[in-house]
């Protein structure tokens, strides 16, 4: 199985390559990618140099154009597709059908991957993407169990990539407008979720209150570490009870299940975290690389180290395990 690693900066990109990534994925520094954060992502020149560095080490470069084209501004996305193709990227990761059709027609030789944002969660959905656009690999949404993945893999003519480590969407990716409901900015349209521009912290009595737009997302009593107010990981009131209504502030870690994923027919393991610093990327990638081949006690030690790298040190297997539902 390939290890697909994130890079938000040229420095993180080099770290990922040096740490043992089989492929590094990244995006241009604009709204064409779903990690459109200030100070992050690549200019054309930075991408050119990064691709050259990766190629020299036998590592592939995947470029995410995984937001949905804003009507009337499609030219920006088409230009970025042209840039990426001209720079010789190994694959484009795309969510928007219109952009997929454009790439398939204009650059029939260009390898195309379906982004997790495309939301292909079953055999017929994947067949649609393969037949209509010649998609060679699909990144599965974090809505499936490992047996679901195995059943799907047997029936499709396309590679499967799954997220194994890092941030966890609770909602089906590419189908969530919670962020724009509260802030006007969404992953699909703007490449951001719960954007920092709309985050405020305020002190109320002894409690620290985190807000997104006009809404309180969490309240932290004295002594409790305050997390970032990602909308779906806030504490809310439902009925008579208070708590994490959708999901705790956890991150995904299913490295315990890599053998099961291999047996299920998964081709590539994806690490979330293009917004992470280069030190994090280097440490996570090198640890994951070693845990792919390590056995027994050595693997357990590596997996334990990974858990400490996770945000808040609390992790979940998410939908990959049925009881999460």
């Amino acid at each position: 199985m390939e290890l697909i690693c994130p890079a938000g900066t040229p420095a993180a990109f080099r770290e990922a390559v040096d740490a043992g990534a089989d492929a590094v994925y990244c995006g241009f520094n604009d709204e064409t990618n779903a990690r459109n954060f200030p100070g992050l992502n690549f200019s054309r020149e930075e991408l050119r140099n990064s691709i050259a560095y990766a190629r020299q080490k036998g590592v592939q470069t995947l470029v995410a154009l995984n937001t949905f084209m804003r009507a009337g501004s499609e030219a920006l996305w088409y230009q970025r597709a042209a840039d990426a193709v001209a720079l010789g990227v190994d694959a484009l990761i795309v969510a928007d059908f219109g952009l997929m059709a454009h790439v398939a027609e204009t650059y029939p030789e260009q390898r195309l991957h379906a982004s997790v944002q495309a939301s292909a969660s079953n055999v017929e959905a994947i067949r649609f993407l393969v037949t209509a656009f010649g998609v060679k690999r699909v990144v599965l949404p974090r809505t499936l169990t490992i047996p679901d993945i195995a059943r799907i893999a047997r029936k499709i003519d396309c590679e499967i990539e799954v997220f194994v480590f890092g941030g966890l969407c609770v909602m089906a990716e590419g189908r969530c407008s919670l962020s724009s409901y509260a802030t006007g900015k969404s992953p699909n349209m703007n490449g951001v979720c719960s954007p920092a521009t709309h985050v405020r912290y305020r002190q109320d009595g002894g409690e620290l209150v985190s807000e997104l737009g006009d809404y309180t997302i969490n309240r932290f009593p004295p002594g409790e570490a305050a997390g970032y107010p990602t909308l779906c990981k806030g504490r809310f009131e439902v009925g008579d009870s208070h708590g994490y209504a959708f999901e705790d502030p956890v991150s995904l870690d299913i490295m315990d299940h890599i053998d099961a994923l291999r047996e299920a027919g998964v081709s590539a393991l994806k690490v979330e975290g293009r917004q992470r610093g280069k030190a994090y990327v280097a440490e996570v990638v090198s640890t994951l690389r070693r845990s792919l081949t390590a056995q027994g006690a050595e693997r357990q030690a590596l997996l334990s180290k990974l858990r400490h790298l996770s945000e808040g040190q609390k992790t979940t297997s998410g939908a990959y395990e049925k009881r999460w539902r």
Binding site: F68, M69, R70, A71, G72, E74, A95, D96, F97, G98, L99, A101, H102, A118, S119, S121, N122, V123, E124, A125, F128, L129, T131, A132, T143, L144, V170, M171, A172, R175, C176, S177, L178, S180, Y181, A182, G184, N188, M189, V209, G213, D214, Y215, T216, R219, C232, G234, F236, E237, V238, G239, S241, A245, F246, E247, A319, K322, R323, W324, R325
Partner: protein, 311 residues
């Protein structure tokens, strides 16, 4: 610019209503509501299918006899084999139009006339053209889209009817996990259909007791109720010919009457809003997405008031 004829569509009931309530709702729609198209069928959760299945035939017959065009919605999230099979059977056996709510339906409907539901990501004309070429006749655009995008899509891919989500709590997210069941101490696989206890959804408030979201099984919808009124004229000029009313647990015949009055210019915007607030008082109105604002916002012509003020 001359306006095209515009009509109303009743969207599918997104909530879990028991079989008789569901049947009687559609009987009354058939007999009393002036809507041209009615979309029926479970959209949110496959575990609910058996509640309405015994009543589908009589509901379709009553609606058809009343001159309504019936459209069947597919499931929004398809992961299990039996869910895929349900979508396959629905499409294979449908004598009526089918509305696609996920990518599996898009694939299976290729070459047949069909409808694209609001849960399919159509953000630009390139996507609309692609779907039209595959057989889409109507596209109900996602609630998240601003007016500028709606106009650009309708102008750039004119060979299809466009529909806008005009009334109801807006679908915002769907998950493999059932927050509704979890809030009552269950998990999805052993949910005991507790979402049926809230036929208009289960409110999620912030810890500062602001009304915020509403749970509907595995789906999360807005606390606010979408209300297209002042924007209707501009939308019709942009080429929108259908307006979708999404059923809430209120007098939907009355809601349809308000929107028909708006379409026929028989009522002013302010009066229409007041009537809707009387019929469905449970939720503040919103139209922020259309104005490229936060979706919960209410933008009136006279004043800009964030939804906060209605909390």
């Amino acid at each position: 610019m001359p306006q095209t004829t515009a009509t109303l569509t009743l969207g599918p009931v997104l909530y879990l209503w028991d079989g008789p309530k569901w049947r009687d709702f559609y009987f009354r729609i058939a007999d009393e509501a002036d809507v041209s198209r009615v979309v029926i069928g479970e959209t949110v959760c496959s575990k609910r299918l058996h509640f309405t299945e015994p009543h589908i035939a009589e509901v379709v017959e009553r609606l058809t006899a009343a001159g309504k065009e019936v459209v069947f919605s597919t499931l929004a999230m398809v992961t299990l084999e039996r869910e895929t099979q349900h979508v396959r059977n629905l499409i294979a056996n449908a004598a009526d139009l089918v509305e696609a709510s996920d990518l599996s339906a898009l694939g299976l409907l290729n070459g047949k006339p069909h409808v694209i539901g609001p849960l399919i990501n159509v953000y630009n004309a390139a996507t609309a053209r692609l779907l039209a070429a595959r057989g889409a006749r109507t596209i109900c655009l996602p609630p998240e889209l601003p007016m500028d995008s709606i106009s650009a899509i309708a102008a750039g891919a004119p060979d299809v009817d466009y529909e806008i989500f005009a009334f109801g709590r807006m679908p915002l997210a769907i998950s493999a996990r059932c927050a509704h069941a979890r809030s009552k101490g269950h998990i999805k696989d052993n949910c005991q259909f507790v979402c049926a206890d809230e036929p208009d959804g289960l409110p999620v408030r912030t810890l500062d007791r602001q009304s915020f979201l509403v749970l509907n099984g595995v789906q999360t919808v807005s606390h606010t109720c979408q209300m297209v009124a002042a924007e209707m004229r501009a939308l019709r000029e942009a080429g929108i010919s259908r307006f979708r009313l999404s059923p809430q647990d209120c007098d939907m015949v009355g809601i349809a009457a308000v929107f028909n009055d708006l379409l026929q210019d028989r009522v002013g915007v302010e009066e229409a809003i007041a009537r809707v607030e009387t019929i469905y008082p449970g939720a503040p109105l919103s139209n922020g997405f259309l104005h490229a604002r936060e979706g919960a916002a209410w933008v009136s012509r006279a004043r800009n008031v964030a939804a906060q003020s209605a909390l």
